[in-house]
Amino acid sequence: MYYAVSLAILATMALALARAVRGPTLYDRVLAVNMLGTKTVLLLAVSAFLLGRPDFLDLALAYALINFIGVLAVLEFFRNRQRKLSAKQPGEQQ
């Protein structure tokens, strides 16, 4: 029962990675990173039950935290960078 969900989550992780590598703007990549983070949380939760180790759910909770903080950190630093380098064209192709 868990196999189908795991396959779906793994496929989505691959797709998100494709967006992270390809995405023309910087925000596309941040989007992909956020998505990979939450998919990792789901994969961990499903795998914890698939492999019969429900006491590994602490890892999933920690990943959810870290993902949130990571995305907010990236956005704060973009904001500061935009403020300092306001001569540069915003949202430029990277």
Binding site: Y3, S6, L10, M13, A14, L17, A20, V21, L26, R29, V30, A32, V33, L36, G37, T40, L43, L44, S47, L50, L51, R53, D55, F56, D58, L59, L61, A62, Y63, L65, I66, N67, F68, I69, G70, L72, A73, V74, L75, E76, F77, N80, R81, R83, K84, Q94
Partner: protein, 329 residues
């Protein structure tokens, strides 16, 4: 079987990420892809049943390292400098070394085989002795906290030294605000960033409680002081990101951070000295109380508290060293 398939798939994604990191010229992109790399390798560790390592890799690699890379990049340029000369000699050396390493892996024992040397000698002794001596379910914490506590003391000293080194290099002892204050309170800015601030403030106490849970639960499940220190530091970093650097420094001043960093190491060392005073060796817990198992558990708790203090103080000191320096410009 199924986790082998999952691991192989995720390792393939890892290779793609690594190629992307090397290929890109923008360092911001590289920093974010490095965060993805850490997340995926942590998943592989989890699938290989190494839960403590996975938790540490996630907390420190995906969380704190990404934040510190971005903080460093905020102080400098974010495009990689183009190298103009060819590096064929380096390419040959690296290719040769890689070929030798791959050839060497053919001689390794089967993955997870019971007769591999790594499973034979010390590992089986630890597994047997933990049930007799310490009686906690998590053998990794038993090894880290009791049997190899001296190595953990070394790790704590390494973390503290790293923080001291960064503090010296960046020498941010005082946060000097420039004349124009950061425009957080202008009309459009507040309206657009209100939701993350409110939700972030709501979530920070729970992150702190979870960090404390990971710290004290390390004897019974995956966890321990290094992971807990990183999670608690991440909570404070979130506060600093949302509320601004000066309020974060006001909440937990730099002096307090340095005291925490050094104090944790002193606590660890003091536990060892107490062990000597009571008649045993350095860091021998057996003489603390009458019951051997209780002494070991209390000893592990105390040194883990020391490690947690040091890791939190060190990571926050490094973060504030970067972030406060950026404010000076």
């Amino acid at each position: 079987m199924i986790e082998t398939l999952f691991s192989v798939f995720i390792l393939t994604l890892l290779v793609v990420t690594a190629v992307a990191i090397v290929q890109t010229r923008s360092l911001f992109v590289a920093a974010m892809l490095a965060g993805i790399f850490s997340l995926m390798i942590a998943t592989v560790f989890f699938l290989l049943d190494a839960a403590d390592v996975a938790l540490t890799e996630a907390a420190v690699g995906a969380g704190i390292s990404t934040v510190l890379f971005l903080a460093a990049l905020a102080l400098t340029t974010d495009e990689e400098r183009v190298k103009t000369q060819r590096r064929s000699l380096a390419l040959v050396v690296v290719a040769a070394a890689t070929a030798v390493l791959i050839y060497a892996t053919f001689d390794k024992p089967e993955f997870g085989a019971a007769d591999a040397p790594a499973q034979q000698h010390v590992a089986s002794w630890y597994i047997a002795q933990t049930a007799a001596d310490i009686q906690i379910p998590n053998i990794v914490t038993a090894v880290l906290g009791a049997y190899r506590a001296y190595d953990t003391l070394g790790e704590v000293m390494v973390v503290l030294t790293a923080a001291i080194g960064v503090a010296f290099v960046l020498s941010a002892r005082r946060v000097q605000l420039p004349a124009e204050e950061e425009p957080k309170l202008d009309g459009t800015g507040l309206r657009h960033f209100l939701i993350p601030r409110v939700v972030g403030r709501l979530v920070i106490p729970f992150i702190l409680v979870f960090g404390l849970y990971v710290q004290f639960h390390g004897e019974y499940g995956p966890g321990g002081a290094f992971q807990a220190g990183a999670i608690i530091a991440a909570a404070f970093i979130l506060f600093a990101l949302l509320e601004g650097e000066e309020r974060a420094i006001a909440a937990l001043p730099l002096r307090a951070l340095l005291f925490m960093g050094a104090g944790g190491a002193v606590l660890f060392g003091a536990t060892g000295v107490v062990g000597m005073v009571l008649g045993g060796n350095f860091l021998e817990y057996a003489n603390f109380f009458a019951d051997r198992a209780t002494s070991h558990q209390i000893g592990i708790l105390v040194i883990e508290a020391g490690v947690g203090l040091t890791v939190t103080g060190a990571l926050l000191a490094i973060f504030h060293a970067f972030a406060a320096r950026g404010r000076r410009e």
